[in-house]
Amino acid sequence: MTESDAPLLLAEGLTKYYGRQLGCRDVSFALYEGEVLAVVGESGSGKTTLLQLLSTQLTPSAGHVRYRLRDGVTRDLAELSEAERRFLFRTDWGYVHQDAALGLRMNVSAGANVGERLMAVGWRHYGRIRGAAATWLDRVEIEADRIDDPPLTYSGGMRQRLQIARNLVTQPRLVFMDEPTGGLDVSVQARLLDLLRGLVTELGLAAVIVTHDLAVARLLSHRIMVMKGGEVIEEGLTDQVLDDPREPYTQLLVSSILPA
C-alpha cells in the first residue's frame, strides 16, 4: 500500500457523553483523499458532536481520531500539541460554519478575512496577500470591488462564499462543513452547492459535510452516513443509500423529501 492509499482521516470508536447525556456512540470510519462524506440525520442525532470530535474542538469520551499529516505520518490528533493542532487548523483543514458570523471576522474587510490565514503562516508581503485574496474572491464569485467591504455588508449567500474562500486559501486537504447551506434561500443554495461541487472536484478536497438536507448530500457526497440517536445506523455509497435505503429510519428520511 503506497502512502497516498492510506486513509486521510480515521475515526475509531468515537464516543462522546455530555455527563449522562449521549452525544454519539462508537462511530468508526475511514476517509480517503478527495472523498466527500455526508453525515445526515435529524436534529439531535449527534451529527454536530461528531464533526466537533473529528475537528478536535471536543475531546472524545472514548475512541481516537487519526490524521495523515502532510509529511505522510498518521498521528492521533489527541497527541498533537495545541500549537500543532492550530497550525493544522489553519493550513491543512477548513471549517465552514453554518452561521458565517462564527467563521468570519465581521468587522474586518473581505480581503483581510481571506488573507488572515496567509498572514498566520508567515506571509508578509501586502501585495501578494491582496493578490491571493482577490483571486479567491473571484473564484467564489464575489465582485472584485467588494474586497475592502466587511462581511457585515454582505448578503447571507455572499458571506457563506466568503467563508469558503477564507478556508480554501491555504489549499487545505480536508474541509469540515456544518450545514453549509442552512438558512439560505433555495436559489442561493443551488448556486452555493454548484460552487462547492466545482471546487471540491477541482481541488480534490476531502470533506465531511454535516447536513439534514438529503439533496445536499446527494449533490456533493460520494458516501453517506445516517445517524440516529447518536449512532450510525446505515452507511454506504450515497446513491445506493438514498435510492435503496435499508433501515426503516432511512426509508422514512428519504420518503419525507418533498417531491420537487
Binding site: R105, S109, R124, Y126, G127
Partner: protein, 281 residues
C-alpha cells in the same frame, strides 16, 4: 501625631514586594504581560495608576524623579504625579532628562538618549495589542502562548486597504526579543525605534488592566510591518519654531481661530536645553 499616615512612596512594603516580583518576572520574560494585584491609588484610572505603582515600588530615597506627559514636564498629569512623589517619598525631582534616575512617562520617550543608570516607566491604558481584534482575554492569552500572531498583521492589512499606508501612528505593535508581540502603550510610533536596543530598563504598568511588562536593557524591539510597506517613523515635516530642531517629534499648537499653527518640540526639556545652548553662544 508626628508619625506619617503612609509609608515611603505611599504603598506599603508588602504591596511593593508583590509589584517587584511582578517586575522581575516581566524582565525575565521580555514583552510578556504579568498579572499583578493592582491597588487603588489616590487618582482615577486612566491617570497613570499603573505607572505610579511601578514607580512607587522601585523608588529609593536617593532617586531623582522626572515625570513627563506627552513629552512635557509642565502639564497637569506630570505636575501632579511629580508632586505626589515629592510629598509621599520626599525624593528629589527634576525636569532634566540627563539628571533623572527614574522617568515616568505618559507615552513619549525623551529625545535625549537614555543611559544604563536610568529606568523608564510607562503608563499603559490598554496593554493587550490584540484586544481590538479579539475581545476574549482567554483567547488572547492563548494566542500569546502559542505565538499565534497572524491577527496582528490583519490590523495592519486593514490600514493599508483603507488608507493606502499603515495609518497606525501610536500604540504601534512591536515584537520584543523575537517572541512576544507587545503594545508599546500609546507612544507615537516615532519613538518605537528608541525602544530597540535601549540602554535603559523600560517598565510598563497598566493599573486598571492589572498588567506589568518590561523591556530589559539592550533588547531587540522590532516594529511589525509588511515587506512592501515597511515601518515608517512618521514625523511632521517641520522644524521646531522655538529651538529650530528638525529631527524631533513635534506638537502642533493651535494659536488662534484664524488657522494659526505653531510647531514645537514635544519634549520640553530637550527644547529648553537646545535654546539654552543657543543663548550661551
Amino acid at each position: 501625631m508626628n508619625a506619617p499616615a503612609y509609608n515611603f512612596a505611599y504603598l506599603d512594603e508588602q504591596t511593593k514586594r508583590m509589584i517587584r516580583r511582578a517586575i522581575l518576572k516581566a524582565i525575565a520574560i521580555p514583552g510578556y504581560q504579568v498579572p499583578f494585584a493592582s491597588r487603588e491609588m489616590p487618582m482615577p484610572y486612566g491617570w497613570g495608576t499603573g505607572g505610579v505603582q511601578v514607580t512607587a515600588s522601585i523608588l529609593g530615597p536617593d532617586d531623582v524623579l522626572k515625570v513627563i506627559d506627552q513629552g512635557s514636564d509642565d502639564t497637569t498629569n506630570a505636575v501632579s504625579i511629580r508632586k505626589f512623589f515629592a510629598k509621599t517619598a520626599g525624593v528629589q525631582t527634576t525636569t532634566r532628562t540627563a539628571e533623572a534616575t527614574i522617568i515616568q512617562t505618559r507615552h513619549r520617550i525623551p529625545e535625549t538618549p537614555l543611559t544604563e543608570d536610568q529606568v523608564l516607566v510607562f503608563q499603559v491604558p490598554i496593554p493587550e495589542p490584540l484586544r481590538f481584534l479579539e475581545p476574549r482575554e482567554t483567547e488572547t492569552r492563548r494566542m500569546h502562548a502559542l505565538a499565534d500572531y497572524g491577527l496582528m498583521h490583519v490590523k495592519l492589512y486593514e490600514d493599508i486597504a483603507r488608507h493606502g499606508h499603515i495609518a497606525t501612528t501610536y500604540a504601534y505593535p512591536v515584537k520584543v526579543d523575537g517572541r512576544y508581540v507587545m503594545d508599546p502603550s500609546p507612544t507615537p510610533k516615532f519613538d518605537n525605534p528608541k525602544m530597540d536596543d535601549c540602554a535603559a530598563l523600560q517598565l510598563f504598568g497598566a493599573g486598571r488592566e492589572k498588567r506589568i511588562y518590561a523591556i530589559p536593557p539592550h533588547t531587540r524591539v522590532v516594529s511589525l510591518d509588511f515587506e512592501d510597506h515597511p515601518f515608517e517613523r512618521g514625523r511632521t515635516p517641520k522644524t521646531c519654531e522655538l529651538c529650530g530642531a528638525n529631527d524631533t517629534y513635534l506638537d502642533e499648537v493651535v494659536t488662534d481661530d484664524m488657522g494659526g499653527r505653531l510647531f514645537v518640540c514635544s519634549d520640553s526639556d530637550y527644547c529648553e536645553k537646545r535654546r539654552g545652548a543657543e543663548q550661551a553662544k
